[in-house]
Symmetry: C2
Subunit: 219 residues, 2 copies
Amino acid sequence: MAKPRQARLTAEEVGLLPELDDESPTLWSNQLHDVARGLLTSAVRCFASNGFHGTTTRDIASVVGLSPAAMYVYFPSKERVLFEVIRTGHERVLEHIREPEVEQIESSADRLAEVVARYTSWHARHHVIARVCQYDLAALSVEHYQEILDLRHQTNVVFRSAVQHGCDDGSFTDVDVNRIARAMLSLGIDLVRWYRRDGADTPDELGCFNAELALKLVT
Amino acid sequence: MAKPRQARLTAEEVGLLPELDDESPTLWSNQLHDVARGLLTSAVRCFASNGFHGTTTRDIASVVGLSPAAMYVYFPSKERVLFEVIRTGHERVLEHIREPEVEQIESSADRLAEVVARYTSWHARHHVIARVCQYDLAALSVEHYQEILDLRHQTNVVFRSAVQHGCDDGSFTDVDVNRIARAMLSLGIDLVRWYRRDGADTPDELGCFNAELALKLVT
């Protein structure tokens, strides 16, 4: 859970906070310049810590030793940085639950368990960027928001299909597919609120646990 | 889910946003002056919309037609307003799930279902203050944070006891009580992220649905 810190953190403090260390920096496209990737990593920490409206371009730039003006060489606005962060997070988790080896699992129960486990452990491993992906959506432009909604819809479809598949082949009991899928997504997403790397559960343990819960909800 | 609005909202816009209408204004103590209650209601909307660090005392005061200086007559700081909001939210939901009529339910399953249903529907009815209670914790002072932690601990205890009771009397299967209780809390809390009064589910419908899910997790 969040530690109290009361005052808005300075960019330097944000750069040092151990609870903001996660695997988010591994997610950026290799096609981006090193500096752009550094700015995105810095932005994730700033947004997760102080919120989009509590973060300035100066904060984001100064963590990597740049002036605000230098940031604009890479991103035309703070909103554009946020969009790049949120888009990347949504695309990566969607890729992760849609990998061919998941889709090829024949047993409906095993496939649903794998989807839930992957979704959950991804959110634990990348809990800092995942928090920004969930909490700062409203700060996106209308256009960018629509793009993200589409990615979220595709993510929902993976969950709904995994549940529906088991209902259709008789592996699962007859359930309200949309609401059950939403509950499974909730179990994965809610951990971005409290997950800490130094806590009791590893990402994979949490993934297994939520996968077991998911199966209980449908059988 | 949050609608996009990109720019930080002005206090006037925050005052008009229909998605910020919920039953939070009914929660404040009658012992508080009308103006203080108005300030708290305004603060909930501002914090939920722009975050604690994106909100100024001017914002909070101006929604009720006051100057920032006039706010200090009632609350000595913005943090103190936040604490009053977060404390009230936590106390109210704890009272609601701990009412004598819940504790007197004899059947373990019925009692757990009632706790989960109440917790969930409370979060839907008061989703705006509930969002502030979950997302802005880190902005509290260390002392205030400790008080809130204690309330959260008491809330956890209600859930854990309800689960443990059913394990002890053989109504529930042997489960990991703490983790199962955490999952049930997650299902209730996560809705503050996406709940809208104009959506498909009423608070009571969501409560019933989550209560059914909770029983599936333990039987």
